[in-house]
Amino acid sequence: MQAMTKPPRPWLPLLALAAFAVHLAVSVPVTLARSARAARRMVDTRGETPSESRARTFGPGYVKAIEEIRRAIPLDGAYLLINGHPGEEEGGPLWVKFDLAPRRAVYLGNLRDLGNVDRLRRRMPRAARWVVIVYGDYATPTLIERHRFVDQLRDQPRGERHGS
């Protein structure tokens, strides 16, 4: 008689299976839908050049400015990179550095913290003839010749350095 009765099904394994089934039912369709959207985007953007796709993502002003800076600084050239709009968690200088690589950068930090101009000049390597100032994520970066930048800096008191 005892052999005929089935042992009760444990509730925890059943709960585990149910929870997993719910998880699968929610997460997999959502990810597949994301995948379908990516495929759709690929079809919609067919024929785009890398420059057009970058302009769509980062903004035409930013991409145009990067292309102009690339034309001015040769691939084996160097430049001074300055953050004109320091803010929390901003990647602006990093994105510009990436977009201008393999041109080599010397990072001088925040514009408003640059300090004494003569001391700053000593930190500038001879090879870096250009200064690139970044104003936050994907805002249009500015390219200035090094000597002009130093002159401007000398004329501008420290408190007024906003990089406009």
């Binding site: 099904r9 444990p10 925890l12 394994p13 059943l14 709960l15 585990a16 299976l17 929870a19 997993f20 998880h23 699968l24 929610v26 997460s27 997999v28 959502v30 990810t31 597949l32 994301r34 995948s35 379908a36 959207r37 990516a38 495929a39 985007r41 690929m42 079809v43 953007t45 067919r46 024929g47 785009e48 890398p50 420059s51 796709s53 970058r54 993502t57 980062f58 690339r70 691939l75 084996d76 160097a78 990179l81 990647g91 990093l94 994105w95 550095k97 990436f98 690589a101 393999p102 080599r104 950068a105 010397v106 990072y107 390597p125």
Partner: protein
């Protein structure tokens, strides 16, 4: 679009073809069915091709240009094909699945393929986004490509602005290989296909490991669950869609753990595991520590106390020696990769880096590792369990399944589940160490914790599959009986 798609696929083939050919050198991989073998093949291909190029450039100053890249890929492919020809009669028997099982496995494969195709579509049509991909890996690749060397001036001279210049550059070298071979322009991101292809590789390794140890149903649904996780797939700061090195590291580490725990044992398989561990070491700084965890996990079943457990069957001395030689072979290759890494990094002056080694020396790892725990636990638990958009509640399910399937830690299954648990905890231990010495640990948790979960994903998912098998056995005993007849192909 057509040009980008072809270039992306060519970039993937640059590693997948030599890697697949190389699998013929390793008996444990020769026994993997062709439907699953590309997972290991792709990882071996990236490890062997990019690893060789890294070594040739760092040690012999060979320029990273088309002749070296194509020559390396061709040499590895030819060697693998010759071995394949010589071992063509050495075929493993594979038990076919029942028809209903085939349908479920096919559905899982379609889900994985669908998600992978979406990643490839994004790689073809979108520029690189995400933080570390552009700050670190792809930026390094641009300097390396320009000079054709893993020691470009931008990295070797301390005046130039480079973030973490001493981070290993296996993945940037892989990027350079793809960009050179495809003749990519400055803004072409054909290398993104290489990162996207790590997802199908991970899914195949998870399916293969779980299929061996837990049966076809836990394997199929676990792989499907992995394909459905947003953080593993479409998350821009750490998923397969990104340009981060965490996902590739997870694949190298996890696949090596699977190879080191396989019951089929030859020293040659240790070489395959060693290649993957070497790649882990050359992918990220913590890769070396994780490789140590992988070796420890592989050694765990050999420890006398572990073997003397009442439930464990006695292991013949010859088998122990073979397992030891497999570990030794893996350790030897890992040490070779480590020597290369140390040689390379000593040439590069460090700057713009957290300097964890100095922090560990200066700060008190002890007692901060314990004292800080209450402050850290809240953020870690939040990131693990309450970031619904990243994991869709997966870690809640994970805990419930593991508790319900606790029996996998007892008896014979324990010989497998305990090393897997150790391997899954490895990346989390590294995270704990980092958070114990960092000056802003809570901020660090926000941007790194989930990436450590990614690094732990393969052993964690395999453990999940084992527990799921036990859960199925208890909840649905009839189904479990059918699974036992058709699924398990390898005893722990």
């Amino acid at each position: 679009m057509g040009r980008e798609l072809i270039a992306c696929l060519a970039g993937v083939a640059l590693f997948a073809v030599p890697g697949l050919a190389l699998t013929s050198f390793f008996p444990a991989l020769r026994s993997v069915p062709w439907t699953r073998r590309p997972g290991y093949g792709y990882l071996l291909g990236v490890a062997a091709v990019a690893g060789s190029l890294y070594a040739m450039s760092a040690v012999l100053d060979v320029p990273l240009r088309r002749p070296a890249i194509l020559g390396t890929a061709a040499a590895l492919t030819i060697a693998g094909l010759v071995k394949m020809w010589l071992t063509r009669t050495d075929r493993a028997e594979h038990r076919p699945l029942p028809r209903r099982a085939r349908a479920i496995v096919l559905a899982a494969a379609l889900a994985g393929a669908g998600v992978s195709a979406g990643l490839l579509a994004d790689a073809v049509s979108e520029p690189l986004l995400g933080w570390d991909g552009r700050m670190q890996w792809a930026a390094q690749a641009r300097y390396i490509r320009f000079e054709g060397s893993v020691l470009p001036i931008a990295m070797t001279r301390g005046q130039w602005f480079i973030n973490h210049p001493r981070y290993p550059v296996l993945l940037p070298v892989a990027q350079v290989a793809v960009l050179e071979v495809t003749g990519a322009g400055e803004d072409d991101v054909f290398f993104r296909g290489v990162y996207a292809a790590f997802l199908p590789a991970l899914l195949l390794v998870v399916y293969d490991g779980a299929r061996r140890w837990a049966g076809w149903l836990p394997a199929a649904v676990t792989a499907t669950a992995a394909a459905g996780l947003h953080f593993l797939t479409f998350y821009m700061d750490g998923g397969a869609i990104s340009g981060y090195s965490d996902f590739p590291l997870a694949c190298f580490y996890g696949a090596a753990v699977v190879l080191l725990l396989r019951s089929q044992v030859t020293a040659a398989d240790g070489v395959a595991a060693g290649l993957l561990l070497g790649a882990a070491c050359l992918t990220k700084n913590e890769g070396t520590i994780l490789a140590g965890f992988a070796l420890l996990a592989g050694a765990l079943p050999l420890l006398p106390r572990f073997r003397r457990r009442r439930e464990a069957p006695p292991v013949p001395r010859r088998r122990l020696l073979l397992k030891g030689s497999r570990l030794a072979a893996a350790a030897a290759l890992l040490l070779t990769a480590l020597a290369l890494f140390v040689h390379w990094r000593t040439i590069i002056p460090n700057r713009h880096d957290e300097g964890y080694s100095e922090l560990v020396r200066e700060e008190s790892l002890w007692p901060d590792a314990v004292v800080r725990l209450p402050d850290l636990a809240g953020e870690v638990l939040f990131r693990t369990f309450l970031t619904w958009e990243h994991w869709t509640g997966f870690w809640w399910v994970y805990v419930v399944v593991l508790v319900a399937g606790w029996r996998v830690f007892a008896g014979r299954r324990g010989a497998l589940s305990r090393p897997l648990a150790l391997a899954a905890l490895g990346p989390l231990a590294v995270a704990w160490g980092a958070y114990s010495v960092h000056w802003q640990p809570v901020e660090l948790i926000k941007v790194t914790w989930e990436r450590f979960l990614v690094q732990a994903s393969i052993p964690a998912l395999l453990l999940f599959a084992l527990a799921l098998g036990a859960v199925l056995k208890r909840a649905l005993p009839g189904l479990a009986g059918r699974l036992a007849r058709s699924g398990h192909s390898e005893k722990p």
